[in-house]
Amino acid sequence: MTMTTKDGAGTPGEPQPDEPRAGRLGAYWAGVTAVVGMEMRQRMRSRGWYVMLAIWFVIIALVTWLTWWSWSSQSSFQAGGPDGNHAGPGSLIFEIVMAFVLLFGLLVAPAFSANAVNGDRAAGTLAIMQVTLLRPGQILWGKFLASWIAGLAFLVVSTPFLLFGILQGGLGAGHILVALLMLAIELGVVCALGVGISALANRPLFSIVVTYLVVAALSVGTLIAFGLGAMVSHGTVMANQTFYKGGYSAITPEDLGPDGQAARPTPPAGITDQNADYACYGPLREYQSVRTDRVAWILAMNPFVVVADSIPYSPRPGSDYSPTGAFETISQGARVAQAGPAATYPCADGKVTPAYLTPKTPLWPLGLGLQLLLAGGVLALGWRALRTPAGKLPKGTRVA
């Protein structure tokens, strides 16, 4: 070992801001990228990550193949061949693959985000970062971005299958871009939750479990809460009588009149509104109804609802158009809940309700907003826990 402590030419005396051109924001960002770079380097070197990616790839491939296989066997059974007037399986494969990607993403994201901070604390490396010029926000942002990027790798691995779904037909590029973007954002929300919780909790195992519980609360708990909430949120709706006109196909020969005309039931008087199927008539009265619109915000927080609702669907012509795809069905269901009885109860306010709700006020911005609020709140609490010099410490915490 040689003695070279005397300040040499290259020795930096005082730490200076990175570059003169970089402003305060630039310097802040430089710190964040330094943390991201370091985190990514470590993640890229862990074998577990690649194993997880490989398992992921295989599972998604399996799901895609099974979907395609079941569709093709079904369509050949029905139409005697994959031609005919069937829409391609594109929408089906794409949606199922996407649902799985979201599901697995929600399952995997906590695993590589929820030990980001307290794992470092356990290894004794967190304090070493805290004692540098890094600010707590830079550490937190860096760790969040690194775990998000790691999560996006899973999305990238699954793109071949999403592309396969697209190539099978029927979907626009915008459709797919929106879906991928929303999947990425949902992964980001879970990663933010995980990193924030890991800054708050002492032990990695605990924070990972808590993050899983939060994810479960978002994807399953919201459904239960919505259901229970709807049961207790009774309300009334003003509506009048409904008169179903009946379809010609349902008319039996007995109903035919002597002149061969269908003896159609005579419409009642005082029709306020009508469409091909039914008419509304009579005075408005109060009816008991479930006010789902009051608890729809709970449903909106569901990641599946957010993704499904954000995808733009173009309703095909025809008043009786009903949604075809799985995601579109979810979206419609959520919007029905959001609209509440005022829009969905037959003849509410004396008006005919449309079978298909056109996206006037989409639900997903509310849901995503609530999710971001939650994730942001947890991150803010995590930021508080990372501030140094540390004042109060949670019990059992060792700084280093």
Partner: protein, 327 residues
């Protein structure tokens, strides 16, 4: 008893310190910190002037690490003040941190990264100019003798090598104040000598160096002064010079032990049998002058003295004479 006796003097030092606005180095006055019911640090004073190595000595659980965490700006003290080159780390952590290099007792290495990558990342965390980082990293790797292992993952480094890497990490931004928590533990003798040289070199370059350690014999050579702590309190602060001149035990052995014992009895020097492997006696001596006088007397008495040396290091002597209680 000792503490009460010394209290006025310390009070005087404290006042002096508060008066001089900027103390060149590191100063902690009346610092305390508790975790729940545990009073880790009750009231500690520490001054580490620039250009000197200050040893922080105390039994396990005395509060050394907690004090260092407060000095390193990671923990906020409940009471008392910390000044790093006149900067209050609670008020202006960024300015204080630019001047602090901290080496924790837990190694805390990023195992998947190489030594070079770790040091480069630290350089970026300290906002060093990007262009200067690679050269600085090479310089530090050479300093701690890890140049050959620069591109090995930290995982494969031995404990002592990781310790050296940790030291290099603390030095990356050329800090004015160095806080080293047990830097010598796990080091082989060669590395200890090298560490000693590095620390003396840093002190010579005008840095304030604080070292906590148990290896007391080592500290005699490294430290200029020592602060003894026990049960969360500063018990004593002395320079090594003072420690060396205080009364201490000397171990003497002669070719004929009986002749030696007879001579000591004639001279009226109380002695007792030594604790070492060799047949020796140990005597209490007032200081170095008295020691050399005793050696002369023994020569005059015709004792064939073959070894005459302090029984223990100067700081160890002080440490052992304190009533340390371990927690």
């Amino acid at each position: 008893m000792r503490k009460r006796g010394r209290a006025p003097a310390r009070q005087g030092e404290v006042l002096e310190l508060m008066e001089s606005e900027v103390f060149n180095g590191l100063a902690a006055v009346g610092v305390s910190r508790s975790f729940g019911d545990v009073h880790a640090v009750v009231s500690m004073d520490l001054q580490a002037p620039a250009g000197e190595v200050t040893a922080l000595i105390g039994p396990n659980g005395a509060g050394k690490t907690t004090l260092l965490l407060m000095l390193a700006s990671l923990l906020a003290p409940d009471a008392g003040t910390v000044r790093i080159m006149g900067i209050d780390p609670s008020r202006n952590p960024a300015a204080a941190r630019a001047k602090i290099g901290w080496m924790p007792d837990t190694l805390g290495v990023w195992e998947a990264l190489t030594a070079r990558e770790i040091l480069s990342a630290m350089g970026r965390f300290y906002q060093l100019p990007k262009a200067a980082i690679p050269a600085r990293v090479i310089e530090l790797l050479a300093l701690v003798n890890l140049s050959d292992l620069a591109d090995q993952k930290a995982r494969v480094l031995s404990r002592g090598q990781q310790q050296r890497l940790s030291l290099a990490r603390a030095l990356i931004h050329d800090p004015q104040v160095l806080l080293l928590d047990e830097p010598a533990s796990g080091l082989d003798p060669g590395s200890r000598v090298a560490l000693r040289q590095i620390l003396r070199g840093l002190a010579a370059a005008g840095k304030a160096v604080v070292v906590s350690s148990h290896v007391l014999a080592e500290l005699d050579e490294i430290a200029d002064r020592a602060v003894f702590v026990n049960a969360g309190r500063t018990v004593l602060a002395q320079t090594v010079q003072q420690a060396a001149t205080q009364g201490r035990r000397y171990s003497i052995s002669a070719l004929d032990a009986q002749v030696l014992e007879a001579a000591l009895a004639r001279l009226g020097v109380p002695f007792r049998a030594g604790t070492g492997r060799r047949e020796s006696v140990s005597v209490e001596v007032g200081g170095e002058t008295q020691a050399s006088a005793l050696l002369c007397d023994l020569m005059v008495e015709g004792v064939e003295v073959c070894s005459f040396a302090p029984a223990s290091g100067a700081l160890e002597e002080t440490y052992m004479s304190m009533d340390v209680e371990q927690r």
